[in-house]
Amino acid sequence: MTVAVNRGDPRFDTLKSGHNLRFPASDQEAADRILLCASADETADALRRVIAAGMRPTVRSGGHCYEGFVSSNPQGAIIDLSLYKTVTRDGETGSYCVAPGAVLGDVYLSLYKRWNLTLPAGSCFMVGAGGHISGGGYGLLSRLYGLTADWITGVDILTVDADGTVVARRVDKDQDPDLFRACRGAGGGNFGIITSFRFEKLPVAPREVVNASLFFPWKDMTEEQFTRILMKFGDYWEGRGKDPDTWGLFSLLEVTPKVTGHFGIHSQFCQPDGTVNDVSVFNEFLSRFDVFQPMTTLPATAPLGPHRLNLRTQGGSPRGIIKRPWLDATVGDGGGGGPTRAKYKSAYMKKTFTPAEASTIYKLYTSPANEGRGSVISIDSYGGAVNRPGLVRDTAVAQRSSIMKLQWQCYWRNADEDSEHLRAMDEIYTAVYTGSHVDAHHQGTPWGDRYEGCYMNYADCDMLRYSYWPELYYGRDGLYPFLQQVKRRYDPNNIFHSSMSVQE
């Protein structure tokens, strides 16, 4: 039975917010009602009631929306699916079915323990499947297996027709194929409420992986050295990293401000067969950085930073490599962290770093002015199976040529610091994408020969100031106009909307 949490309910103040405590920005901005649903039927019933009341529904699965698309809903209703978290197999079709409220950690555990399968999804245990998969969904196995959205073969979705009738649809490549494609990566909150992701088949879970971290002290780091590290990292993904035997390698270079003492590269590898019998590819990658003499462990007192790999390096082993069961490496430490105030940005890169980019990042992250601002750049390896031909036509993910994906993050605690952190993040990001390495008409944004725009799951409302923002998220090869058609057809009243939803 649907649980309704209204203002005045003791649970309301806790449940009105998601993971990012910046939202709602005020009590007035908060939703009036939170409806917790544990099944597709309950969700449909809740949606009917919300529509009949003339309220705006926003939809929450794990609550990790980076902007206020869900929690900022004045006088509206949040349909919370966090109690709807089944991971099952359809006895009739054999499809694996993931409910939107299932968190990724539970999805991994269920798929692994029941069927020895997995999804190439994200690394944060507590992120909900609903939003994550709707936006494409990528993670440590994506270079090996592609995006989560690439594996979807069907979607159960509730749409609202022009009359306001809630319609339960099962869409796939044959039934409502346009809506099906749109559900494969365009982002949540656009067309309806997905009540189940269906997969006819899924990749076998790796048996084991190896992890390693390399740490680079800021203390004596010169701009020239820093630039070489970034370019050496990027060169790999632009070159050797395109070879299929490397697709089991995932790595992130995490740049933190100088005040943290170090920055690092954190990596995971398994062979395409899911074993680590031969780690020569891993060693080959790590050896590229030997010249910089990185540390493989940190002093016990050193801060670890917010990186998203469950890394526990092992002193004494070559390059600190540690072998772990894949499941342990994936869900072993839970991860995800608690709610905080945060801002995020993103960039897809098709080529390695230019000296100008690296120089700008160096200056910004070694500047005393930025020491207290807590911003971090996670530079993730990308490409591999994600970039297989044809996927761009079948899914709603346009970025199929990139070799790295950057997530800009900033975390803080106090509301009175909001404006300063938001301003600083915007300035830093804009500075990196300003210059001769960026197309003249797209200064300040990752767009052009070297870049492929931004990731909708790392939504960033700052980008709305650019009239071409849909291109940044959906490319310029007709995907956005296609999504607009789907929007008009399946959500003609624009029931599901946010400041960055597909717009007419």
Binding site: Q28, I51, G54, M55, R56, P74, Q75, G76, V160, A162, D163, G164, C461, L464, R465, R488, P492, N493, N494, I495, H497, S498, S499, Q503
Partner: protein
Amino acid sequence: MRLRDRLRTSGAVRGFGAPPTRRTFLAMLGSAGAVRLVPQPHGLVPSGAEARPTLLCVGALTGGGSGAIHTLAVQGGRCEPLGSIPSEQPLALASHPARPIIYAANSVNRYRHEPRGTVEAVLVDQRTGQLERVACQPLSLSATYPRSLAVSPDGRSLLVAAFGGGAYNILPLDESGVPGAPSAILKQVGRGAHFPDQGSAHPASVVFVRQHLMGIAADFGADRLDLLSPDPNAPRKFTIVNRIACRPGSGPCALALHREGGLLVAAQRLRPALTIFRLVPPAHLEQSGEIPLPSTPAAITWCPQQEILYTVLTERSCLSHLHVWQLDPAAGTLRRIAEAALPAADIRAIHAGPAALYLASERGLITVNLDHTSRTPLLTTGLSAAVRGAVSLAAVTRA
């Protein structure tokens, strides 16, 4: 020679009566003649007399996505430009019942890069006619392209119809008339027979019933009228208390509420007609008649003093037609008593003063003097080109 004398007084057109065919209607026009515009820079229109001086506020689109709000002093049919301020897209204006403030519905779909329309509040100096923008309030997310707005009789709420976003917003007005963030957001669903024009809900026109603090709205997209009342437990929160279905595919686009509050006329665009409703308390509308029209209604208003309704119909040619209707209050029907052709096809709003009609058109503000007794048009008309691109009108009493 007065135009009235040249007009052919048409026979009574009662509710659901047979409409004139296009051919007969054009023949009527041919015999009726046309109002002639007399462009003058200012100080127009000699005859007639306003009961009291009025400031007429005119919303105008100035091109390139910009707009302006102008004030003109009107008295005795005379128009004198007084003030002007930039605006965005002031497609509709409404005045506060007690304060010299007008509200403009900016028909935009972006506010600080988000998909929202906006409402501006503009303070009018009743002595000089100078304007000062005192607020720009964004509407709710996705409430885009607002097309109509109305202030509640108690001056505490502003009802806005967001045509593009398919929503109503109620904005609370503080003691000085400044609007706050929406206190009620009512997202609408629905469709009509004409796709894509009626592919979704499109609230197009709103009015307030003075006697009952109830709003009435025409939803062009969903072919219905919505009745909105304050929530008894939260006066700033309105809810839809009744919906009245209109003829499928009719496209109600404009409302005019008789001053007594008991009679409402809805102009329908897609099946051109006037539909007449009686207001049945507490919140019901009972249709008392329907009059087919020969062309699309563009503007509608009641004469404030008498039982006269004015409508402007748009033809495909460069002409519009002014129709004058006499109300039979007992029967709840309208009888057309006069008509005239106007040399403009883009009239967007009409305001009836005691002595003249003011019509907002692309060419400027058209003044049509009225016969003092019959309230029908006189020959003498004027054009104030100072307000080119005029699309909306509202009046404020002059000090």
